[in-house]
Symmetry: C2
Subunit: 260 residues, 2 copies
């Protein structure tokens, strides 16, 4: 059933608009996904949708999406284009928006392999790129410490190119890191202070790759959790690498070691 | 000698302002560098400076820079803060700007090792990050095809974190690629269409790593130049990697192979 909303003062529209704010997303345990390709991605992912909103201008252009959801619990709303535009972050929105439920991560779903711990990274493009690489390289999940940029903000989500929907995004609640330690995962910390060559390390076991803030690297807390502290060799003389690049080099060295 | 400029209508100021435009940079063979750290980087690089402009507000704060240039040919101008602000791209400029001469690349300065060919990459942050990684990994230079974003634009320069000043930036003039071929450099093209595993390739010889546009990859021309077409294995299922990430993984696999 498709419902129609014509007023921007509709109470549901007001609730959706709140999800543009990080705190409200956390409280409601929901986030927004914009655009046809991204909405299709999230529909075909393990995430569940609360609702779909689309612009009257999209009539006939998204039939396959709507039909696919017809017998689901997802609520479908057709709204005035101006209302939809007001809910979107892009300047010229395509005219479709999904309200998606944030998934809680359960520690008993931990898998063998490697996780990527992102400590207080600030740039949405960097975190999005890290998640895209994590998905490509077969990471089992991403762990975000408090103080990291919100992965469910629009720019970060866009930089993941859909990859955010295909792996667990785990917020550090104070328990996940000790639990990983207990389960024998080795913490590999990237640090400019180390002189241990990253390429000499065996990466085939259960691992947590830890990377930190653009300017300051990992916090003391994460540094102290490190079982192995490594530096990516930089023979050319630059002082450091972009954090998304450094973490991707580490993830794909795991890919390489597992292939050979 | 420090000259003083008080009018925004000063003819030199007008010439400097033109350098905010790509075409004018190309015509004048000069570009602008903003901020204390970046100006220091470029002074300590192989680039030559035409002039330094600084805000009257910086009096006493940049003495070491000014003194270092005292007996050089670099012209030094103290200008009103509003004039300097108008020449800068950042919203709250630190108050120092250098006019730097673009270096022509001469083919007889080619070095053994690897170059990175960037084909029509559009995002300034991506190209800046590629140059930063190229510097870190010891690349001998960057080659930019026509249609690539200008590396001398403010955002791209900032993303390089100073690395742009420490390696040749070579614009493809139609002659450099055939010359590299003639000299026996192997062209390694990253392509999603290939199924040759990148990690199986020996990367120790003279190489040109070729990466392409964010949406479309390399052009047919570059693809056809390729001696080896490879794909970085992505066991996790994402369709592709960010172009700065893909090129950095390739550069650091060269670092790894040369270390072992």
């Amino acid at each position: 059933m498709i419902r129609t909303i014509e007023s921007k003062d509709n109470s549901f529209i007001k609730e959706v608009k709140k999800l543009k704010d990080r705190k409200q997303r956390k409280a409601a345990k929901q986030f927004l996904v914009e655009g046809i390709k991204s909405v299709e991605e999230v529909i075909n992912s393990p995430y569940t949708l609360d609702s779909i909103l689309y612009s009257e201008k999209m009539d006939g252009k998204i039939d396959s999406i709507i039909e696919g959801l017809n017998h689901s619990n997802v609520k479908i709303y057709k709204v005035k284009h101006e209302i939809l535009k007001n809910l979107c972050s892009t300047e010229n929105p395509q005219g479709i928006l999904a309200v998606v439920n944030i998934k809680d991560f359960k520690v008993d779903t931990l898998k063998d392999g490697f996780y990527v711990l992102v400590d207080r990274v600030q740039d949405p493009g960097n975190i999005g790129t890290i998640i895209r690489s994590a998905h490509a390289s077969g990471a089992k999940g991403i762990i975000l410490t408090k103080g990291s940029v919100d992965i469910f903000n629009d720019k970060a989500l866009r930089s993941t190119m859909g990859s955010a929907f295909h792996m667990p995004i785990i917020e550090d609640d104070g328990e996940i890191l000790p639990y990983l330690k207990l389960k024998g995962y080795k913490f590999l910390v990237s640090s400019l202070q180390s002189d241990k060559d990253f390429f000499e390390v065996d990466l085939k076991g259960n691992l947590v790759i830890c990377v930190g803030n653009e300017g300051n690297g990992v916090s003391d807390y994460i540094y102290d959790l490190g079982d192995i502290k490594v530096k990516i060799p930089m023979p050319g003389g630059a002082e450091s690498l972009n954090v998304a690049v450094a973490s991707s080099i580490m993830m794909f060295e795991i890919v390489r070691q597992k292939l050979i």
